[in-house]
Homo-oligomer: 434 residues x 2
């Protein structure tokens, strides 16, 4: 389909084409410091609070009773209005920005409203888009699960017997989910330097195996009461939208702590998500089939269709402190064996209450071959080989000052990209501990 054309100048390589319209939370860098909702469009953002105040939604009268959602510091209230409203608002904004808008007087020809609500992106700052209620991380990237399992237990026992029956997941830490750009401090913790020693005695210090996890995050918009599961056929309606996610992981802390109750301090020091929430509708044209699962699923996990993941081109850059950047991974969002609707159906099947603002992580997304691995653990074969970087540099795990940048984009047609922008974090050195 031909790109939608806008009267606003939108760079053709922008992730935020008229086909996208992702939602986020901004402040202005210089004046208005209160957090408020916005959409990203090309090199601009539309401040939805100013836009609503300036009668920008006059062409969408059904939204009138709900305009206060755009005076909130998070997107939770807007998300809670549900997918039909997100759909209407996105379509309305696409129309307003299009060359052939049916309401030119509202924005296209209204320089006063443009002045108050349409801000250059570089004059704004983005914030965590939602107040995260609970954060759950799944393990749906089967290639990663196989690679990680092989390192620990050998290829024959890499995947547990439950893997193809259950979208395996664990509860994560919501308080340390942060927006792209937030510095991540290397964690201190207990490290078992000699795993073969008997007895095993840990030492204390900064993690030496600090890693990334390339994931897709899914933010929910719908609540189900405790005790009332979300049926698989309705689970898609619980999705507000998607973000890129880096689930930073301290492999050495994790290895010593995780038996028998799972990862804890190896993960809870920080999880970065991208700032702009790409709506479910915007990704709809990029549906793709899940990876094959030969196992006969229990009915509560059987989806009406198989194309329930998305063809998102994913890239990971590592920038060293001297500023040289290497793309260390090129993968795709298709590499999942479980979809988010399946994760939602499973998460709630025993009665767990889900809420708008809950964050679900896909688990690390890796290609089957070495081109698009989602963690340094896999790229370095468990820390056994060097990852080659530009400028003769090498890494096994992250050094202080390293920056990780994840990018994700759908489609290839200039002017019609649907992307996530970037999910960025820089590693700060561990605090000295008394």
């Amino acid at each position: 389909m031909a790109p939608l054309k806008s009267w606003l100048s939108i760079p053709s390589d922008s992730h935020f084409s008229l086909s996208n319209i992702p939602f986020g939370i901004i402040t202005s860098k210089y004046s208005q410091t209160e957090k408020r909702p916005a959409v990203a469009i090309g090199d601009h953002v539309l401040d939805l609070q100013a836009f609503a105040t300036g009668d920008g939604f006059s062409g969408l009268p059904s939204l009138k009773p709900h305009l206060s959602v755009f005076s909130q510091p998070t997107l939770n209230a807007f998300a809670a209005l549900g997918q039909p409203v997100h759909r209407e608002v996105r379509k309305y904004l696409q129309d307003l920005f299009s060359d052939t808008t049916s309401h030119p007087q509202i924005l296209k020809d209204n320089t006063a409203l443009q002045k108050s609500a349409l801000l250059p992106k570089h004059e704004t700052k983005t914030h965590l888009p939602m107040q995260i209620g609970d954060y759950t991380d799944f393990y749906a990237g089967v290639n990663h699960a196989f690679n990680a399992g092989s390192l620990f237990r050998g290829p024959a026992n890499a995947l547990q017997p439950n893997y193809y029956h259950i979208p395996i997941g664990y509860h994560g830490r919501a308080s340390t989910v942060v927006v792209s750009g937030t510095t991540i401090r290397r964690p201190n913790g207990q490290l078992l330097l000699d795993p073969t020693a008997d007895p095993k005695v840990p030492t204390f210090g900064p993690s030496r195996r600090l890693d990334i996890e390339l994931e897709l995050g899914c933010l929910l918009c719908k609540a189900n009461p405790m005790g009332e599961p979300v049926p698989i056929k309705e689970a898609e309606q619980s999705i507000f939208g998607f973000v890129l996610m880096n689930d930073w992981s301290a492999r050495d802390i994790q290895a010593w702590e995780y038996v028998p109750l799972g990862p804890f301090n190896g993960k809870n020091f920080g999880t970065t998500i991208s700032a702009w929430v790409v709506l479910f509708d915007a990704l709809e044209p990029y549906r793709a089939d899940k990876l094959p699962n030969e196992t006969k699923l229990l009915p509560y996990l059987v989806e009406p269709r198989n194309d329930t993941v998305f063809d998102i081109q994913l890239e990971v850059d590592l920038t060293t402190p001297d500023g040289s950047t290497t793309t260390i991974s090129k993968g795709t969002g298709k590499n999942l064996v479980w979809s988010f609707p399946q994760m939602i159906a499973h998460h709630s099947v025993g009665g767990c209450a889900m809420q708008p603002g809950d964050l679900l992580g896909s688990g690390t997304i890796s290609t089957k071959d070495d081109s698009g691995l989602g963690s340094l653990l896999e790229m370095s074969a468990g820390g056994k080989k060097e990852i080659m970087l530009a400028g003769m540099d090498v890494r096994k795990f992250l050094k202080d000052g390293d920056t990780i940048t994840i990018r994700g984009v759908c489609g290839g047609e200039p002017g019609a990209l649907v992307g996530f922008g970037e999910c960025v974090g820089t590693i700060e050195s561990a605090i000295p501990f008394p």
Copy 2:
């Protein structure tokens, strides 16, 4: 010490003596339906919103700038004022209710304020006392950890090599933490009925091994920013107070799902806490030594003193649908090998941000012998033997309609008890699944 005497009639066996003054959230059953803070005292509650409105805090001028915390639907804002303020308010209220109050005109002789703020407990309803940010469940009850580990791996390998080095914990589900009295629906889920089959194939249905976990919950009052650990010496100051907790567990769902990332649907369908938060200060006289740990701890876990758990007498009653009640466990809160300050120091040592309203669970508290086990799993030796109940009834795990009541109380002197009241939940049958 002699019991503090009150001008208000307080039953001598009340958990809510003048020595206690626990905080909660109430609504009135008949009129005022908005949630508001209160304290429990004997068979009454003091409605703190009405009390503040009626100038009840006029004798505590330092609190004046903060009185709006008593017009909140949770205790989070009050908790965030910090331990010194909780201490002042508790002492002030103890004085106002005492026979020899220094401010008789404020409440003792003020029938108008008594009428508006001092409500019969049975005319009020309690609610979740705090908005839980994140919920973390630890595993500090070493007797339970040993018993459960023995059932799965034999006594020789019952405790993992990390157990005495790390306060093991995992992230739980905050959205399903509910107040005492909330019905708990039996979860459906994946069950591996024949664990010896090859390949392993799960079936779907209601949990057949629905269990309890007797725990103590700790609610936090202090935030630490991400990246800045809470030092062990300051960790006690992060504690707002304590509640009883029942971490309902579906053992069969848990057994099939928990490798490799820990418990998930086996736990997230519901966690019950008691309604009244017993302040840190109220438990201070009941400090007790932790269970011995011969392991040399890393410095960040070394406490300045060893008496950092509490001598709380714990009881668990099981009431069958026909109404007959059996006390199935009599234990003590002393049976922990890690204290809450140690859990806080460990939880935050890598930089995890903690917040007022975070809930930490102790893990299941069991006696070393069979008198005070904290789970049916232990009482039934993994479902192998019947637990004898009154009226010739028996159980291995919970049946629909069963009610579990946990009680906890410190001290034995009539009129001076410091107790938690009850933590109650009744099992409702699983929903039929299509």
